[in-house]
Symmetry: C2
Subunit: 902 residues, 2 copies
């Protein structure tokens, strides 16, 4: 998988992710590659398994030791369960990774401080040290990531969301990406830029799960089950958040909210288990390293327990929530604006495309210049790292005591907030404004980075600001009774952090993360209220940051149905379906196939009984049909024909009487055998990796007959032949892709078909003496033959909808089952097709029903930024598709596959 | 709905819930009633809406005021969204209910204490007062509940789980149940028995949501959408837990874990919003009532923050977790054992059936006698209420200081734990053992009650016990450094409470509930570890308490697939499907229909093209077919026939030439009209409530023709007629039941068909002069006619599976889409059917594949208790079904429906 993608990677490198520049081909490309990847992956796992078996069976060197190991393993598996072992391993590895990354980041940040501190004699040298250090780290991170694996850029949550939706994104779960992400992230965070660790950790955990899954599949068992892998990926996302913040509960919930539409409750369990274990190990490592005395929260607070807040403070918390909602929406908007601005400015774009590392360098230079502590940084606590900033913001002491702010002794890091000339309020305001755009800008740098933590810190600062204001206005607290409970601004900071990060990510579980991060749950109601209000505001204005990135990247994801917008219920499938379905009939000839492949664009084609009845029998993948067609016109078949012709001529000379009947007899006896073997044969031209030439020693002269010339008229024995023909296809079982057909066929059974082909090639002593005209004639004749569907996988039950199914229901079914398209039938007759594209359009409001444009009332602002590029993209998409479909199934691929089989 | 069920209620009263006595008919019965309820509900909502419209349009008394209200309402709805208003209302109402219930319970408990305290001169009087009070309350609660609504008995979570699975349980969501549940619960908890409030509150919140939904549907809008109602029920469950414990996050998570298999993340949002609002109001009420100074946790703890626990204490926490796992499994087992014991003992059973209130009385008497404080209660802190017990157990002081326990001053309620002669450890052990069986026994009393809180308290006591032991063993704490951190037994109590309640309910979210209840999250890792271990142990031994009750009650619910048991993947649908499918063909005659109905048992029947092709066209509900058949043999049709015969005789006398052609002409002109109206006509004999006789004034003489004699040979115009015939059926759209057909048909359109029937009856001046033999002959002739499917709803796309679909996938699809059954097809041809029953059997391990019984390794103990009764039940089930199907579609129901239409 890593090998055969190298040629595409160069292309992809151009297409993706360069300072947030994503073209829409990625989505299409990813989809195209999905099937291929899946197929080759399955094959590889089989071959690997058989290899392992060979190893176990035949190499008897340390057989006893081996047997013992296998027994132990079996015992463990049967007793403890494979899932458990997997989850424990995953938790352990991720905790170690998280701890090591944190450790390295801490060292990097310390080194910067040390350099900066050592050079305090000369401000210019100090500035140089302060600025050069992050620039070098970020540039290295950007360069390293782009060279090794450009997929590692960014947060990774949007991609995980898409992958968990059922779409396989190529190269997003490889070892290279893992290395690039971990090292890139460490360097990026070590630079001290306002970047986060959470998003990338979700991706890293998923990578880890995928790699671990592959590793454990070496030992056999259930690790090849693809549905299980998806479940494990969901658990891995929870682990990622869990070990990043030592927040197991919040991690599980955040990962659910961010990645899933429908969630299987049984996964919940797995997530909890793995995330708890991971968080535990992560914190235990800190204890063992003597950083902590015992296991406590990451940013522990010490707020008053007996009277955390007054009931009359709640309006202030609500204000924080609403303001954070607007702020969160603004952040998402700003982030998208920056990406789109750079993308649209052609001249900047071109220049930056050439000098790829210039953009990160410039952005880093700008940000680090502004935070330079003796410069502008003194007004915004520039010398504190992100973690230190957060600790000071969550402090339980009040900074400003109504004019007597000077009296307060700022101990430790809190001193950075104190400025001799400037008020603490001004410092906070400057910090919030500067960090806001800095974070939005910094997250567009093409390094592995998240936006959660920066946003969290900004929210905390905002909350602190409100809290300090409240403390200044009510120095003795609001409570009217005899007891005085002063206001705790740290509590406001907690509320603000949860609210702003909730608004940006559209999640409620940031509340839980906050509790776990601070180790205190006393502010539960203010936090919940603020988070909910922030979400309500932000959701009505902008998509979440992750959805925004999904749109920018044009990832194949289905948007959510707005809730409460019941006018959507009035749209039916018949309103949005494509009526002009490309289909093939059971008794069509190869010419029809050719025409359909040229004109169509869809990935799968419907198979109907006949053009009159239109009764839907199943669906066939485009690649299958292409291989059918190219096989029919392949050089080997032509050579076969030439050989046959020659043989016929010879036979015609020797004896004319009884050859035909015998030949038919012999062929019939081999039919059964071939019906088994050809189901698994891999003639597909899109799968060259698995077609290694076997040794001539394996050749068997008994099977020299043409394996593809099985009963060519399926109408005659449509009863039996059709039934054999319908084998379970992996694409239909999109929900659970454990391809059982593959597992039941041993490698022994698969060999004959390969041998056959090779023997044909080896026997190619007949010369290709056909002229071009003869070839064209021969091909014309071939195209008029009826298609033999025996060699291709047909999905016998593609998902069907009725024409009156509502949009809401369609959306639910598509999300639940992870569908890509569904056929619309009426009494078994095919009348249309709906794909994700149509559904997405309908949901995004570009379909009008009865003259009214269907769109949620508040979403007008929300869509204005993307709608123009959306239509543009669709047009491009169509053009591209047309180009592809025209070039593929004609003469050229035939010769291509010809060359490969030889 | 409330009216037509009164006859059945008497029956149900016998069948259900009497001291935990549930017969398996309930499940079947519930399913039968489901369709009926749904249908009548829809009709009622339509009629109600039309009534509201009438009110708004025609009654112009205070029109201005009305218009203003409507406008305000529309404004609110468009701006704020109906969902929001609904959720806020729900939260508000539930918070009030919860607070009022708590208030009443507190008063009840205070009254008991006051009585007990006032009579301290005489121990016997004291005993009488102590015992009589709870006996009276429980007996009243049991009696009241059983008279008003026996559905209110028990926790309600199992029923909600089943309802959210898609099965409509009759009478579980009515106003009567609401009243019975609230009052019954208040009395039951006021008695001081070890009963809980959580489960019933989930039910009460759902009841509240259902009633509110009905109420708001008076104002029109989306409140009739059934999928929305299900979503709101899911949110309501969260509200129930949230306002019971003031735990919004834990409430949402617990309700998800307990009720859902697949969870839509968009519901998550709703749940959070409503639960937070509800919890907020609930706690604000306490502040306003001066119970609390500000909003804090319900059972606030004050543990040390800086060093909550040592790393070396973790093994002790793990031990609590594992022991709680065994304890939880034992509790579920004990609870089931008690129910089954009483059910099996025929003599006890008969006696208790007669004296229904005896069982609650006896149990209460036993328990309250044992807790009598001067008696045995002194060894188990008997005089404390459940809440007080919990507060003392979560105390942050250590009770036993290594032998010097006497020195500790037990202030307040903690004094109850102190006994002059007996050690504190003995007291705790006695408390745990006694409360354990008492709680298991008490939850079988037929009153509204839950088991969560008692289990929670027992868990806390167990944790306390371990904590006190640890404190006694390590008086200066474990930590080896200079600083001394003594062990906090209260923290152990928190861990124990979470672990045991998690084990009994099979949930992880009890951890979150514990944090929210205590207001401290410092023990997050020990709690998580203990809860996960407890779950792991309990899940491998026993089903959860709710699943156990589902099994006992035989509710139609699909069990979970065990995780990690991948051998299940080897079962295919073809292994478990029923091959002998009852089907009807498109051109069958009524006799076939009759035979199929007599022999079959399934709720829906497959419609295939012909017995040869077996191509599946759709499915028809049994009730629809029964109505078709009974209609064909109905008295009115016979009267029609007599009238026609008489007319024909007359006409034959007057003129013989042109009568036939004209009749045909007239009939044809009415065809179109009837095709609309008859789709909605309700001839079903199972739906008598909606067939109220209309006034004769509505009679129209123009439509006296037979409405059912539409084109009887669908083969002739199978192209068009078949298409008209296929309308969207509500049953198939189990996922989302917004029946659009119903909403689009106005009452105006529905009237004609009713008028027709009545006009026939009114015109019944022809005498029924047929002899019995003539009738039989006539019926024989009728049975030979071809079935006209125009009058019945056909589901055109019943869910189909392929024969090689794996069990795992089937289970996923069934759970995701809430299916009841699915057809197994092969290339469009029907080859089998799988229903929930087969699936359940396969999962529970009664299907053997390749000689190996498929069953999770640890489940042998788990199933032993139920397997015998299971098979027995299935046999009974079959018998009962056969009896039913034989008696229904023959002569008797025909005459029955005859009588009703007259």
């Amino acid at each position: 998988m890593a090998g055969d993608g190298s040629d595409q990677r160069a292309l992809q490198y151009e297409q993706t992710l360069m300072y947030g520049r994503y073209t829409q081909e990625l989505g299409v490309y990813a989809k195209e590659e999905a099937a291929r990847l899946r197929e080759s992956g399955q094959k590889r796992s089989i071959s690997e398994r058989s290899r392992t078996l060979d190893l176990l069976e035949y190499k008897g060197r340390c057989a006893k030791c081996r047997i013992c190991t296998v027994r132990c393993q079996k015992f463990l598996i049967s007793r403890v369960g494979e899932d458990w072992i997997f989850l424990i391993l995953l938790g352990l590895v991720m905790a170690l990774v998280s701890w090591v990354v944190d450790f390295c980041i801490a060292i990097c940040l310390q080194a910067q401080k040390w350099m900066y501190g050592g050079l305090d004699s000369n401000v210019f040298l100090q500035y140089l040290a302060w600025v050069t250090y992050p620039v070098v780290l970020i540039t290295f991170s950007a360069g390293f990531t782009q060279i090794l694996a450009p997929q590692a850029v960014g947060s990774g949550i949007p991609e995980m969301k898409t992958i968990l939706r059922g779409v396989v994104l190529k190269e997003y779960l490889t070892f290279k990406t893992f290395v690039a992400k971990v090292i890139g992230l460490t360097c990026a965070l070590g630079s001290g830029m306002p970047l986060g660790k959470e998003g990338p950790f979700v991706h890293i955990a998923s990578l880890c799960a995928a790699l671990l899954s592959k590793f454990m599949s070496l030992f056999g068992g259930i690790y090849e089950n693809e549905s299980r892998n998806t479940e494990m990926l969901a658990a891995a996302c929870a682990v990622g958040v869990g070990c990043c913040f030592a927040a197991p509960i919040g991690g599980v919930l955040f990962s659910i909210e961010v990645t899933s539409t429908f969630f299987a409750v049984r996964n919940y369990w797995r997530g909890f288990f793995a995330a708890t274990f991971s968080a535990f190990i992560f914190r235990v490592l800190a204890v063992w390293n003597r950083d902590e005395e015992t296991i406590t929260a990451l940013f522990k607070t010490r707020f008053r327990l007996d009277f955390p807040f007054d009931l009359q403070e709640l309006p202030a918390f609500a204000v924080i929530g609403i303001a954070s909602g607007f702020g969160g929406a603004l952040f998402v908007y700003l982030n998208r604006l920056i990406v789109q601005f750079i993308r649209k400015q052609k001249t900047i774009n071109k220049f930056l495309m050439k000098k790829r590392l210039l953009y990160p360098t410039l952005v880093t230079l700008l940000i680090s210049t502004l935070t330079f502590p003796p410069g502008f940084g003194q007004f915004m606590a520039g010398k504190l790292t992100q973690g230190e900033t957060l600790v000071t913001l969550l402090d339980n002491r009040t900074w400003a005591k109504q004019g007597i702010a000077e009296e307060f002794d700022y101990i430790g890091n809190s001193q950075a907030w104190k400025h001799p000339q400037v008020n603490i309020f001004v410092t906070l305001v400057i910090f919030i404004i500067m960090k806001f755009w800095m974070s939005a800008l910094a997250t567009t740098i093409p390094v592995p980075c998240g936006a959660f933590m920066p946003v969290f810190v900004i929210g905390a600062a905002f909350g602190r600001l409100v809290g300090e204001c409240m403390a200044a206005w009510f120095p003795d607290g609001i409570h009217s009774d005899e007891s005085i409970y002063p206001i705790v601004p740290g509590g406001y900071a907690v509320v603000g952090a949860a609210a702003l990060s909730g608004a940006v990510t559209h999640t409620v579980s940031t509340a839980v993360i906050v509790f776990e991060l601070t180790g205190q749950i006393s502010h539960i109601l203010p936090v919940m209220i603020a988070v909910i209000l922030a979400n309500a505001v932000a959701q009505s204005l902008q998509p979440s940051l992750y959805d925004s990135i999904i749109r920018i990247k044009k990832l194949p994801y289905l948007p959510e149905l707005g809730w409460g917008h019941h006018e959507k219920y009035n749209i039916r499938v018949e309103d949005i379906m494509v009526r002009d379905v490309r289909y093939i009939t059971l008794n069509c000839c190869y010419r029809d196939l050719h025409n359909v492949l040229i004109s169509g664009q869809l990935k799968t084609l419907a198979l109907v009984e006949s053009a009159e009845s239109m009764i839907l029998l199943g669906s066939i993948e485009r690649a299958q049909l292409q291989s059918l067609l190219s096989q029919q016109l392949s050089r080997s078949r032509r050579m076969d024909y030439i050989r046959e012709r020659a043989a016929a001529e010879k036979k015609c000379l020797s004896d004319l009487s009884n050859s035909d009947s015998e030949d038919g007899h012999q062929r019939a006896s081999q039919e059964v055998r071939f019906q088994i073997s050809t189901e698994e044969s891999t003639f597909s031209p899109t799968c060259p990796a698995s077609q290694k030439p076997l040794k001539p020693a394996l050749k068997r002269p008994s099977v020299v007959e043409r394996p593809t010339k099985l009963p060519t008229s399926p109408q005659d024995h449509s009863g039996i032949a059709l039934k054999n023909l319908f084998c379970s296809s992996p694409d239909v079982e999109a929900l659970e892709k454990n391809n059982n057909m593959e597992t039941s066929v041993s490698p022994e059974q698969r060999r004959p078909s390969k041998r056959v082909r090779i023997s044909i090639v080896d026997d190619g002593d007949v010369e290709d003496d056909m002229t071009l005209r003869e070839i064209a004639e021969w091909e014309e004749r071939q195209l008029d033959e009826q298609v033999d569907f025996n060699n291709c996988k047909i999905d016998p039950a593609p998902f069907q909808l009725v024409e009156r199914t509502s949009l809401h229901k369609t959306h639910t079914i598509f999300s639940l089952l992870g569908l890509d398209h569904a056929y619309v039938t009426s009494i078994g007759r095919l009348i249309g097709v709906v794909s994700l594209k149509e559904l997405r359009k309908a949901i995004e409001g570009s379909v009008t029903v009865k003259g009214v444009k269907v769109r949620p009332p508040l979403a007008s602002f929300r869509d204005s930024g993307t709608s123009s590029s959306e239509t543009e993209a669709t047009e491009l998409h169509k053009l591209w598709d047309r180009h592809r479909s025209v070039s593929l199934p004609g003469e050229q691929p035939t010769s291509e596959s010809d060359e490969k089989t030889q």
